[in-house]
Symmetry: C2
Subunit: 108 residues, 2 copies
């Protein structure tokens, strides 16, 4: 059975909720995949080696504005990260778990 | 130019970083799309109407373990939410902005 938002949020005071949400939002930098790669100190060539593809394939993915979630997950895992798919609502946020195990096998 | 993680994190004390991260993680419930829909008080039929598809199409999407990010975004926006794609690393998290404008046109 699904958790109700009301139940989840009832465990925090409204002050705490507002504070946490503001800080969590502020903490999250926003950038495209190529900038994230650079911020991690990786070249396209290095990432291509981890993914067992050629460097142009990495360049192509970084330019895409849509892709399968499994493709994105492999790409992020190759950088040493973990993909989180989040649905944010005015009254809370939820991680979508449908895709939780995608890419675990193919990612190196 | 990309922001460095070090710069982003330098603006917070280590105590603040740990506290925020722990709270942000705790705040995020994790559930599959069908449970999220139920938690939002929506039926497949209601969601199908918003998306201008038939109810079985919604059921099918809820069962998928992989899909295009644009498809997921439309689905979440139809529930009144906003999709966030986050890459989480041991030293911080980043929102991936490649997909920021996807689905804005097709979503109702």
């Amino acid at each position: 059975m699904a958790n109700k938002f009301a139940d989840l949020r009832a465990q925090m005071t409204s002050e705490a909720r507002a504070r946490v949400q503001a800080k969590a939002q502020a903490m999250l930098a926003e950038m495209p995949l190529n900038e994230l790669r650079q911020a991690r100190g990786l070249s396209q060539k290095m990432l291509a080696e981890v993914l067992h593809v050629q460097q142009p394939a990495v360049a192509k993915i970084e330019k895409r504005t849509d892709m399968y979630i499994s493709t994105l997950r492999s790409h992020i895992e190759a950088m040493g990260g973990e993909l989180e798919v989040v649905a944010r609502f005015p009254d809370g946020a939820v991680k979508i778990s449908n895709f939780a195990d995608l890419g675990k096998v193919t990612a190196v």
